[in-house]
């Protein structure tokens, strides 16, 4: 494998997927966000968003808390420490790769 591409081989594929990457990027700058906010910001359908969130939760990258604000259901999502570390590592690795390949 060319040395330029070697950096990409061990990239975190779970985060590399565009929708999940967008979710991680949003969650990296906030404390927590609800389902509606994430849906509006990513433009994903409810089903798609649920599926991506489930994958990230399964990996331990996000924590989902189901709660109520008054009588309104609220699904709060936040990046876990592991998720934040994985996102930072992905970002750094990808930046390095882009610098190498120009």
């Amino acid at each position: 494998m060319p040395s330029d591409l070697r950096g990409l081989a061990d990239i975190d594929r779970l985060i590399h997927e565009p929708a999940r990457l967008a979710l991680a990027a949003i969650l990296s700058v906030v404390e927590s966000a609800d389902f509606l906010y994430l849906q509006r910001e990513t433009g994903l359908t409810k089903g798609n968003l649920s599926s991506h969130l489930a994958k990230l939760e399964e990996a331990g990258y996000i924590a989902i808390e189901k709660t109520y604000r008054g009588r309104i259901p609220l699904t709060l999502v936040r990046l876990t420490d592991a998720g934040a570390a994985a996102y930072r590592a992905y970002r750094a690795r990808f930046k390095k790769f882009l610098e190498k390949t120009g």
Binding site: L21, E31, K46, S50, R69
Partner: protein, 212 residues
């Protein structure tokens, strides 16, 4: 390809998309203008004048507290049902940055005091200096957030400062006029943003539970 930096910036910008933060901050500025106006009209050395000097910190702290409560209430009623709930990280200044901020503040304050000591007539320039210094602060913030209307507000701050100085209103009255006018400008900017936000964002149907 996903532009990570753009997404991160857009997320930060989303906090200001409803204009509520500007309306709240504008109210603090108006209050500040009112405070300086009271200082300008109350005779120096009077009991009320002394009380006003002591009350300055209290006015700032209590108005900040009150406005943050109002902002949270409005966000809950207006923003969250439309574009969803989001809580931003509270960024604590690192000790290095805190020291740097204090040093810069000290240098600016010291320079102004030294200038005033050299020539008391410079007092008439206070509104303009105030306008420029605040314009720089708003400019730095605009650069961080990346919203054009904050660049415009930075320019407005400088223009108001110079206009008030040129009008020769006086130092304390001038400062009060600067904060009053700039506060009004910030509120107008916030109201315009709120109108655009309300037109663009319909209330979401929250009756159906989120599906995860």
């Amino acid at each position: 390809m996903v532009d990570i930096e753009k997404i991160e910036k857009r997320t930060v910008q989303s906090f200001y998309s409803d204009g509520l933060a500007e309306i709240a901050i504008g109210l603090i500025f108006l209050l500040l203008g009112g405070y300086f106006f009271a200082q300008a009209v109350v005779p120096e050395g009077s009991a009320l004048g002394s009380a006003l000097s002591v009350l300055f910190v209290l006015v700032i702290v209590s108005s900040g507290f009150l406005v943050s409560r109002i902002l949270r209430f409005l966000k809950r009623r207006i923003t969250y049902p439309r574009t969803g709930y989001v809580a931003f990280k509270k960024k604590e200044l690192s000790p290095k940055r805190r020291v740097a901020t204090m040093i810069i503040g000290g240098i600016i304050g010291g320079s102004l005091a030294a200038l005033y000591g050299l020539s008391p007539s410079l007092k008439t320039l206070f509104p303009a200096l105030n306008g420029i210094l605040f314009a720089i602060a708003v400019l730095l913030f605009a650069n961080k957030v990346g919203l054009i209307r904050f660049y415009i507000l930075a320019a407005v701050s400088a223009v108001i400062g110079f206009a008030v100085t040129a009008a020769g209103v006086g130092d304390t009255k001038g400062i009060s006029l600067y904060w009053g006018l700039f506060g009004a400008a910030v509120i107008i900017s916030g109201l315009a943003s709120l109108a655009i936000y309300l037109r663009k964002s319909a209330r979401a149907d929250r009756e159906n539970p989120d599906a995860v």
